[in-house]
Structures are given as C-alpha cells and as structure tokens.
C-alpha cells in the first residue's frame, strides 16, 4: 500500500525549545559532538485508492502544518515494510 508521507518542521527562525532540551540532555549520554537538534512531525496518509499528492498537499497546507510557524515536505513512500527496520 502506497502512502504519502508528510514531514512537518518548525521554520528555521522559530525557536524549538523541545529540540534544545534534547540537545542539552545529550551530554548525559556521553554525546558531546551534536550542535543542534530540531524536532518535527512525520505524518503518514493512506488513500483509499492511488496516493494523491495534490490532495495530500492540500491536507498538509490546511491542517497538518501551520504555515505561520512550520514548513512541510511531501513524498510518496512505496514500501511500507522497509520502514519498520
């Protein structure tokens, strides 16, 4: 089943306090070479029929992302099983 994947990220100029909190925690794991962490959201959409990128873009633009603070990208993901690994 082909899915459309929408990746939503905060715009670069918007502060991401969650990402900063994660970045600040990394030294506790012994990781000291990470300079920045940004957290976004991945949304998978399955259509009843063939994946419809235009429709997905409309959904993303109207609901999944807030264009004031977020950008999104869309792609079709063909192989569902490879994702699990």
């Amino acid at each position: 089943m082909a899915r459309v994947v929408v990746d939503v990220m905060l715009k670069p100029e918007i502060l991401d306090p969650q990402g900063q909190a994660v970045a600040n925690a990394l030294p506790r794991l012994g990781v000291t070479d990470v300079s920045s962490v940004r957290i976004g959201r991945r949304i998978e959409i399955e259509f009843a029929g063939a994946p419809d990128l235009d429709r997905a873009r409309e959904i993303a633009d109207k609901l999944l992302a807030n264009p004031v603070i977020e950008d999104f990208t869309i792609h079709v993901h063909e192989d569902a099983t490879a994702e699990v690994a």
Binding site: E13, I14, L15, P17, Q18, A21, L63, N66, V68, I69
Partner: protein, 233 residues
Amino acid sequence: MRIGVVTFPGSLDDGDAARAARIAGADVVRLWHGDADLHGVDAVVLPGGFSYGDALRCGAIARFAPAMDSIIDAARGGLPVLGICNGFQILCEAHLLPGALTRNQHLHFRNRDQYLRVESTNTAWTNSFTGGQEILIPVKNGEGCYVADERTLDQLEAEGRVVARYIRGNPNGSQRDIAAITNEAGNVVGIMPHPEHAVEALTGPSLDGLGFFTSVLRALAGSSAGVNAGGHQ
C-alpha cells in the same frame, strides 16, 4: 445581550466563562462545537482548555468545527469574539488573528497570577479599561508563547493591536511580552491569561477580569445605538 460560550470536546473553562459573562450582566447561551447555529448571540467566547486533546497543534482541529465555520464568518462581519487561552490558539489557527502560540520557551506549564498592562482600549473587549491600566489575572498555559514574524509584530505595534502585555515577568517567552492582540476591526481579541477566573473575590486574585465582559456589553449597547461593536480605528 446574549453572549455565547462554545464548548468543544476538551474545553475546561467554558463553565467559568459562562459564569463571568453572567456576573457581568449578560444572558449566556451555551453553544456546542458540532452545531453551526449560533442561536442569535451578540458575542462569542471561545474558552480555555484542551480542545480535541491538543491533537496535532493546539486549536488546529477545533478550527474546523461546524460552530467555528459560523463564528469565522460572523467575526469577519463584526461579531465580537474573545478567545481565551485555547480560544486564542483557535483564533490564530483560524487566521482571524495573526501569529501562533507555541510551546512555552522554558517548556514548563505556568500557572500563576499574572500582572498585565492593558495597551489598547479600542476593542470590543477592553473599552472598560483605561489605557496603561495594570491588571492581575491568572495565567495557566503550556503553549502560550506568542510568535509572529517581525513584520507582523511591527504592524501590530504600529496599529495599536497589542491589547495587553505581560509585566513583572513574562510567563512563557512571548515575543515583545504580548499577552493579547486584536484584529484590524477590534472585534476579535485573543488573550492567553484568563480574565474569566478573576471575576469574584472568593476565587480570583482580583475582579479585573470582569472588565473584558462588561466591555463587550458596553460595545454591544453602543452598536445597537449605531456605533460599531469593534471600536478599534
């Protein structure tokens, strides 16, 4: 005057908002998110809470509720609308107000009594205050950090659309200490702190919140005499 208070699944402060409107002297009409009929109300309050469990983003799902379709149309036509906390988030998601409310910069939920300075009294919801008046009302949010691009912020400032600012400490990192803003017409106001929790001596830190509700009654009385309910110029 009839003030409608909308209940969404996950609204918390609809009861207090209704009570505050009633104490101010309004007839309260409880509105349901799934009902597009606004039942002839003269103004609407979108209350605080966690509509739809804050799924996706705060206010993102509520914006598409049938009641909101009607409220968005009516607000564009001048209906006074006050969004408190989650209601403010819904108004931003509905693009009735610019900008967005994001996660508090320090990531902590903030719940305290908060001083504000009323910056604009030219709105349907703040005309009972005096310009520069300092008020004390509760703030309680996890995602109350107001953000907008610099151009939008400058425009809000230049047009006198910053309605209230945090003073004596910014609880969430909001840009330019913004606690409340209005639309161009002054009929739609979004505020992050909770005026509806400061209307009675028994439970509130002050009675300062009452001014928001008496303001709209005054604006409505004025509009029935031929003055625009949104007094902002």
